[in-house]
């Protein structure tokens, strides 16, 4: 599903992918279908396919080669690189490259142009065609391809989203993000051919976006690239940047940029088209110069191998800048170095890797997040659920500091599995509930050690020894394991789900409540936002979970709030208008939210008539804050999902906002200092409300179908605090966006998800959680509350040492998520990861997880940007990268000449990523 999103984006490329999805989608709904969905996802991932598609070729003319991918690309000569444009300069080297790059650019433009056509995409009919794909649009496919130009864009999104689905929401890219998350893994499937596919996948992220156009560039750019936007010249980078930005920046950041300059705004969305000559060009060029990066080369071909796992061995060496960068982008890249022996479970030519989480009682290094892999849970959890930035834990805080790397977990507790993976097993301990350590309350897991003939067990988290409950005792085998360990999922799997007993419930598990809140102010009607929302909801009703526990409500609002009494006894829905938007209330206690089965007809009728009912609405004001508050009051007793469709800047009622971007712009000229304030919420009203929502388990998702400034920085606070998501359709087009909106909404509702969740991460002694980052509400330091949690949401957990760890021991991390399923079952999903500790710096570098590391940096940067001057954040981004490399060079590299950049194998793409990040709109918006 996530994939869809991207598609929506419009780009042609997506279209192709899109198609596939449609078919698949249906499956998704069904729980079983997950597998299929996965596939879909993959498909969506434009990456692979797209790149190959039209775009590239045209631009460079080289098309042929590229498609084939991999091969040649490798290092393109000066010229080629150029083509790659994107070639993000992996290495700092850049300088030398300069020349080429410029050249490249020059050339590009022309090329681009052709491809780009997309830019205008929105307007173009074709684009539409594409979107639909997501939904259904098989037919369109053909067309889409033609359009291909767009494709890039889509790609971009993906990149952005990357791991953190949630965050991204803000910008369109954001949407993409969601998909991405999943997407990454998928890649393989999409692309048919192995080699190619692989390549693509990697690209996929980056590649796609940029990919098509720059094709090559994209590749390099790797994940980020996506951004097609930048278009032409800078194209490669540009794109990538955007995409990245999108994701990292999360919602807020992006928004602002767009707003700031009209032109700008366009750019983002339409990225492609916009290439607004002026803007686009300049920024990019600037960067490019600096970066000089020699055009990285497309390493594309190799990507496939990538899966294989990055050659661990090669750590030190590399350097090689250009080569590495080249194509693979995301993928690990170092082609030549791959040693087949390192691959835990080699897969012939296919792109899919099989990954066992532990082998020989040792944690296995996970495959890159961007590759396609199938996990076998042999004790540690799948990396889909929890991924550590370093797969070995430094024994001391000093060691970690020296390395310059971040130590954090990326936790995605409900992540979609690969269709071929075993489902997560559900364990029911009955009344007594799951076995837990009596001191730290850690849950039973494969690393708890049973001793004394199984009568007692030692907690791997806190070290405390407990009595084994009598009926749980089992003899130990000669290896010290319980004899029944393999039959009990909680003793042999890194991820299990416990059925929650009564003590985990403060009340009955809540029903699945979906409340739709639609803006019907004049603007919303005129731009088609209302109609799009109504039709999307109408289509999506049938996808809601069946059963008596599914409740639905609907309200519309302009300068007043309109609820609808959907009770069956009434002949017609009754509209209840709440006119007081300073002090709102819900007009009915019960009948505003009704069992879906009782009101389906009313609901459909109503949704069909809303656009015409308000057709002549002359009210331009929109009371977003008040409406959300009123809807919340209606849902207060149960909690649930609140989906808001907003089209204009909320101008009246509680939490009204002002068009402060205008002031912001003037301020920029006077001094840059205040600019970042635009990325902060305007005031605390919405935050206060959001915290209350979270307390009552209301999760808010916001769909912004706008054509003007809407102050996402302020609005996004609500979804961010309640575990929701922002969807942004910037210049909203009634022609091209509805299908995408539908697609997004459908995925939002049908993806695996849960309600009223509480999550906590526990660590072994010596390490403790420093902070959680993500979309949630935190009321006590140790837990986070997630009114809504779904498969796309990732929480970053930063860790810190509070003691020394023992070299050779293992350090465990356990994430427990207590949540209610859409069918009303209370569950505890426990995800455990146990990693070895090391005191060797080299091991750290070898065990570094590039994707996780970079995601972590992105997330940190995203949270910094609203509060610090941009120049500072930018500088910091560079420094972080430099520090790691410096540490490596200083302490680990065996050979070094001053003119050579030495990169640890695992992190060899870091500089490239960092560059991509710096070129993303978040970092440069104010220059535009």
């Amino acid at each position: 599903m996530s994939a869809f999103v991207p598609p929506g984006v419009p780009r042609p490329g997506n279209a192709n992918q899109a198609r596939p999805q449609p078919q698949h989608q249906p499956p998704n709904y069904g729980p079983n279908a997950i597998a299929e969905s996965m596939q879909n996802m993959i498909l969506n991932r434009p990456p692979s396919t797209l790149p190959g598609s039209a775009p590239r070729p045209s631009p460079f003319g080289q098309p042929p080669p590229f498609p084939s991918p991999s091969p040649s690309p490798a290092y393109s000569g000066g010229s080629q690189p150029m083509s790659r444009p994107g070639p993000p300069p992996p290495g700092v080297l850049a300088r030398p490259t300069m020349p080429p790059s410029t050249a490249a650019q020059a050339t590009f433009p022309p090329n681009v142009a052709p491809g780009r056509p997309t830019a205008p995409p929105a307007s173009h009919a074709p684009p539409f065609g594409y979107r639909p794909p997501a939904g259904s649009l098989p037919s369109s496919v053909g067309v889409q391809t033609g359009v291909s130009p767009r494709a890039p864009i889509s790609g971009a999104f993906p990149g952005g989203p990357v791991t953190t689905p949630a965050a991204p929401p803000a910008a369109r890219p954001a949407f993409a993000s969601a998909p991405f998350a999943t997407g990454p893994m998928v890649p393989p499937t999409g692309p048919p051919s192995a080699s190619v596919n692989n390549g693509p996948p990697t690209f996929a992220h980056g590649g796609l976006a940029g990919g098509p156009r720059f094709a090559p560039p994209g590749g390099p750019a790797p994940q980020q690239l996506p951004v097609a936007p930048p278009p032409t010249d800078q194209v490669p980078r540009g794109p990538s940047m955007h995409s990245l930005m999108a994701s990292p920046s999360v919602s807020s950041p992006l928004a602002p940029p767009m707003q700031s300059s009209s032109t700008f705004s366009r750019a983002p969305q339409a990225m492609p088209p916009p290439p607004p000559s002026p803007f686009g060009a300049q920024p990019w060029s600037m960067h490019s110069e600096q970066m000089p990066p020699p055009p990285p080369v497309p390493g594309p071909p190799q990507p496939p191998r990538v899966f294989g796992m990055p050659p661990p061995l090669s750590n030190q060496s590399m350097t090689a800048i250009s080569p590495a960068m080249a194509s693979t982008g995301p993928s690990l890249g170092g082609p030549s170095k791959i040693d087949p022996n390192q691959i835990p479970r080699p897969i012939p030519s296919s792109t899919v890797t099989l990954h066992e989480t532990r082998q020989g009682n040792q944690a296995n290094q996970p495959p890159p997040a961007t590759s396609d892999y199938i996990v076998r849970d042999t004790g540690n959890c799948s990396p889909r659920f929890m991924r550590c930035t370093i797969n070995q834990i430094p024994c001391t805080a000093d060691l970690l500091t020296t390395s310059g790397m971040q130590l954090a977990l990326l936790v995605q507790p409900l992540a979609l599995p690969h269709p071929s993976e075993e489902p997560i097993q559900v364990v029911d301990f009955g009344e007594s509930g799951p076995i837990r350590c009596s001191r730290c309350k850690g849950y039973i897991n494969p690393f708890m050690k049973f001793i004394d003939q199984g009568r007692r067990f030692t907690c791997n988290l806190c070290g405390f020894t407990d009595e084994t409950p009598r009926d749980y005792i089992c003899n130990l085998g000669p290896d010290g394991r319980r004899r029944d360990a393999d039959e009990r999922p909680e003793l042999c799997r890194g991820t299990v789900e416990f059925v929650a007993s009564k003590e985990y419930m403060i009340r009955e598990p809540m029903p699945a409540v979906y409340f739709f809140l639609i803006d019907v102010s004049m603007n919303a009607l005129q731009t088609g936002g209302t109609a799009a929302a109504c039709s999307a909801i109408n289509q999506v009703i049938s996808d809601l979970p069946e059963g008596p526990r599914t409740m639905v409500g609907i309200a519309t609002f302009d300068s007043t709030i309109h609820f609808y009494n959907l009770k069956r006894a009434l002949q017609q829905p009754l509209m209840l208008i709440v006119p007081d938007i300073q002090d709102v209330y819900t007009p009915l206690q019960s009948d505003v939210i009704v069992q879906l089965s009782e009101c389906r007809q009313h609901l459909e009728l109503l949704l069909e008539s809303i656009p015409s009912m308000f057709q002549n609405n002359k009210i331009a004001e929109s009371a977003f804050g008040a409406a959300v508050k009123a809807a919340f009051l209606a849902m207060k007793s149960t909690g649930g999902k609140l989906l808001v469709f907003q089209s204009v800047l909320p101008s009246v009622g509680i939490g009204a906002l002002s068009a402060r971007e205008a002031e912001g712009r003037t301020n920029i000229t006077s001094g840059e200092k205040e600019a970042h304030k635009l990325l902060q919420p305007a005031d605390k009203t919405l935050k206060t409300m959001a915290i209350e929502f979270a307390e009552y388990q209301v999760c808010v998702d916001v769909f912004l179908t706008t054509q003007s400034y809407i102050d996402i920085a302020s609005i996004s606070v609500v979804p961010r605090t309640t575990g929701g998501q922002v969807y942004y359709y910037h210049p909203f087009s009634a022609l091209s966006d509805p299908a995408k909106l539908y697609n997004d909404l459908r995925w939002n509702i049908t993806r695996p998800q849960g309600f009223e969740a509480v999550m906590r991460v526990r660590c072994s002694q010596g390490i403790q959680v420093q902070e959680y980052h993500g979309n949630f509400c935190k009321r006590i330091p140790t837990d986070i509350d997630l009114p809504g949690i779904d498969c796309d949401k990732t929480v970053m957990v930063t860790l810190k040492h509070d003691d020394k760890l023992q070299d050779g021991s293992e350090c465990a991390f356990q994430c427990a998520l207590l949540y209610t399923t859409v069918y009303g079952q209370r569950r505890i999903r426990v995800t455990t990861l146990s990693l070895p500790c090391t005191s060797m710096l080299t091991n750290l570098f070898r065990a570094a997880d590039l994707d996780a590391q970079f995601t972590c940096l992105l997330k940190q940067a995203a949270s910094e940007i609203p509060s610090s001057p941009l120049s500072q954040v930018r500088e910091q981004a560079t420094n972080l990268c430099i520090n790691i490399l410096l540490s490596y060079r200083k302490f680990c590299a065996t050979v070094s000449s001053s003119g050579q950049l030495i990169l640890p194998e695992a992190l060899k793409l870091l500089p490239l990523y960092t560059l991509g990040k710096l070129l993303s709109p978040v970092y440069i918006w104010e220059l535009v």
Binding site: S559, T560, H562, F563, Y564, A569, L570, Q571, Q572, P573, L574, M575, L576, I577, V578, P579, D580, D583, Y585, P587, L588, Q589, S590, D591, L606, S609, S612, M613, K618, I619
Partner: protein
């Protein structure tokens, strides 16, 4: 007595003193104030309606009347109030002794003018239903069907609006497009008119005027916006019916130890605000149907917690009523607003519990609204009363609106005020007395709603000083009064009714007999009743019994015939003879004895008393009792326990209740079914006679009285026993002839008279 009735039949006026004590001192000695009970819209079949504007005195603005002195030759008339000489205008040129305009005919002392340029029905009547939904299903069902029936009876051109309330206030948009809509307001929060307009999107099509008052279509509002909430009853019958059909009980849950959240005051203020914005100045009625105590908003009368009882008279006396004063203050504000807008608040309170009539009284009374208090919406008292409101034909109420009442009188008379359903327009003038009673300090009053029964009690002040020289001028021993009532007739026409009275005044020694000759004891009793009610409400620590006793003793002392200190010589002229009996029953009535009634009931009784004419008021004070037996036809019986007999049927009319009381034997026979046997036709007729009479009473009365049919010794018999003079009680020594006793320690009328005689002659 009959001459007073004749006077009433001519002008709708009853005065206690038809010969007026001529000086201030004299008037004070008369105890019962110089006053008049005037029924402004009393129907007079023979009264002409003149299709032209009245001729007015250019000095005092009084209207030409039969008491004016006309100089036919000079074409001049002299105003009897200020003696100004006025020329007749040219169109009166043909006036002569043989050719008089109707207004000068001596028999037309009451006459009506209809201004010719008024297009009737240009302003349709407006009804805004304000309906309580915090009811049990059964009650809601009764109410719905009553409302549906009422809608059928509405005049076709009338505009209707609907507001329902419970925890929240729902303003129904009846002129809706695709789906029914309601605007929902919070019950605990006041909304003023401006907010209301803003929030209900009145300024969408027509921007809000930057200055000035917003008032209806003429000033600032767009007709379409108004038409959303006020729709023609005939065209929107279907919409109205469907909205009413679907009306649900207030859906908010009520805890078992709590009262329902009912925001009566907010609903009323929203209704007032809406009407004020949409149709200010034209006749509109807010009809409130309330089924329980208000617990939310400014007008709450009690908290939601059930363990807190609703205020009683005792609480009011002790002033331990946390909500009362706040609520009354709120409704005073609301009544001002309504009076400004010219709108009426009608109250239909149907609940076993109190609903807050006592608090609402001020708003209902000042606007001239109707009030009905019943136990249930299913009770005939409510159902039939509601039907009567809209009924046309013989028994129609003659509801009129937007009345303004003005008065002119001779210069030696001033007005203290009016006790009745009206509001002062605060028009001060030389006519205003320094003493204020009721709505005073003005010479003009607003009657937002009035009907043909509405009766005002005007209290006058005689300011003339004793001045020997002025005494016997024959021309000036008349006092003149002129009552002007402008109102919107229920056909939409604006009318002016003019009643001009002349009364002789006497002064000095020897005037006592004249005064007695002009004494109307019924009117006097009613004036005393209104006065005592008013004082009980407005004066703290007022002792009504003492006040009444003192007044009666003074009156008897002044007008009785006796030798000092010799009680046995005491006698009263027939003109005065029943007055002590009225006072005796007044002392025992619900107006004075509030002990057994809730504040709501008392407020209700007083409101009705304050708007009824003399005849009906007298029934409230001293119920009428008719006895039916085989021995004789129906005959009035003494209101005494002695009237009870086993072989009689009694019909008691105490105005609010009509009781048919079967003596023990009659009851037995009836139970045995004799009346169904052909040979006992006479018995059947005997049983039927009081029922027919009761029906006649019920048909004419509004609010419809409660009919109680009971048997001697039955529990329902208390309705009769409570009203009877307790001449025989459980501790009477002599055996009782009628066979019934009353368990009371109250003094009987005989004892009362004894004491009166003793005290009067001292």
């Amino acid at each position: 007595m009959t001459e007073f009735l004749d006077l009433e039949a001519q002008d709708g006026v009853r005065m206690p003193w038809n010969v007026v004590p001529g000086t201030r001192q004299e008037a004070t000695g008369c105890v019962v104030p110089v006053s008049a009970i005037y029924t402004p819209l009393k129907p007079f079949p023979s009264m002409p309606v003149l299709p032209y504007s009245p001729l007015r005195c250019r000095n005092c603005r009084s209207v030409l009347n039969p008491f004016s002195i006309v100089d036919f030759a000079a074409k001049i008339w002299i105003c009897p109030f200020c003696f100004q000489r006025n020329h007749f205008p040219p169109h009166y040129a043909s006036i002569s002794e043989d050719n008089l305009p109707a207004e000068l005919f001596p028999q037309y002392t009451t006459i009506e003018y209809a201004s010719p340029d008024d297009r009737p029905s240009s302003v349709p009547p407006v009804f805004m239903f304000v309906v309580d939904t915090c009811l049990i299903e059964e009650e809601l069902g009764f109410l719905k069907s009553a409302l549906l029936r009422a809608l059928e009876l509405l005049p076709d051109n009338s505009l209707v609006g609907l507001i329902t309330f419970g925890t929240l206030v729902h303003v129904h948009e009846l002129g809706f497009g695709q789906i029914p809509k309601t605007y929902v307001f919070k019950g605990s929060k006041e909304v003023n008119k401006e907010q209301l307009l803003e929030q209900m999107s009145f300024f969408l099509k027509k921007p809000k005027p930057t200055t000035g008052v917003i008032a209806g279509v003429r000033d600032g509002l767009d007709a379409e916006s108004i038409a959303r909430f006020l729709v023609p009853a005939s065209e929107f019958e279907f919409a109205l019916n469907s909205v009413l059909d679907e009306l649900q009980k207030d859906p908010w849950p009520v805890a078992s130890d709590q009262r329902a959240t009912r925001c009566t005051s907010t609903a009323l203020s929203v209704a007032a605000g809406l009407l004020g914005a949409c149709v200010p100045g034209s006749g509109a009625r807010i009809m409130a149907f309330i089924g329980g105590p208000s617990t939310e908003g400014q007008g709450a009368i009690v908290s939601k917690i059930l363990s807190e009882p609703i205020r009683s008279h005792k609480d009011l006396d002790k002033d331990s009523v946390p909500h009362y004063h706040k609520a009354v203050k709120f409704y005073e504000g609301l009544s001002k607003q309504l009076v400004n807008q010219g709108h009426v608040l009608d109250l239909f309170a149907c609940a076993l519990d109190q609903v807050g009539v006592a608090e609402l009284k001020v708003a209902v009374e000042r606007t001239g609204g109707l009030v009905v208090l019943a136990e249930s919406f299913g009770h005939s008292v409510f159902k039939d009363s509601l039907r009567r409101v809209f009924q046309s034909g013989e028994y129609d109420l003659g509801l009129s609106s937007n009345g303004i009442f003005e008065i002119n009188c001779s210069k030696d008379i001033k007005v203290q005020g009016i006790m009745g359903p009206c509001a002062s327009l605060e028009k001060k003038g030389p006519l205003c007395s320094d003493t204020v009673v009721g709505q005073g300090n003005t010479s003009a009053w607003k009657l937002c709603g009035l009907d043909k029964a509405t009766s005002l009690c005007l209290i006058f002040d005689i300011v003339k000083k004793e001045s020997p020289d002025a005494t016997m001028q024959s021309t000036s021993n008349q006092f003149y009064f002129q009552f002007l009532t402008y109102y919107q007739h229920n056909n939409g026409q604006m009318r002016l009714r003019v009643t001009t009275l002349s009364r002789r005044w006497v002064a000095g020694p020897g005037s006592v007999q004249d005064l007695i000759a002009g004494f109307d004891q019924e009117a006097a009793a009613v004036v005393m009743a209104r006065q005592v009610s008013f004082k009980m409400e407005s004066e703290a620590d007022f002792d009504p019994i003492r006040w009444l006793d003192r007044a009666l003793i003074q009156l008897c002392t002044r007008f009785g015939d006796y030798q000092k200190d010799s009680p046995s010589t005491f006698s009263l002229s027939p003109r005065l003879s029943i007055f002590p009996q009225f006072i005796f029953h007044l002392r025992r009535s619900q107006f004075v004895q509030v002990f057994n009634n809730s504040p709501d009931e008392t407020a209700y009784f007083r409101m009705i008393l304050n708007r009824e004419n003399v005849v009906n008021s007298v029934v409230m004070i001293q119920p009428s009792l008719i006895s039916y037996s085989f021995h004789s036809g129906p005959e009035p019986a003494l209101l005494d326990v002695a009237a009870i007999a086993a072989d009689r049927i009694l019909l008691l009319d105490s105005y609010f209740t009509v009781v048919i009381f079967h003596g023990a034997t009659i009851a037995q026979w009836r139970k045995a079914g004799y009346h169904k046997q052909p040979e006992h036709q006479a018995f059947a007729q005997l049983l039927q006679a009081p029922c027919d009479d009761a029906d006649t009473i019920i048909k004419e009365r509004f609010p419809v009285p409660r009919l109680v049919v009971c048997d001697q010794h039955g529990s329902q018999a208390r309705f009769l026993l409570a009203k009877l003079n307790p001449s025989a009680t459980y501790n009477s020594e002599a055996p009782v002839p009628g066979g019934d006793v009353i368990f009371t320690d109250d003094v009987s009328f005989e004892v009362f008279l004894d004491h009166l005689q003793r005290l009067a002659v001292q």
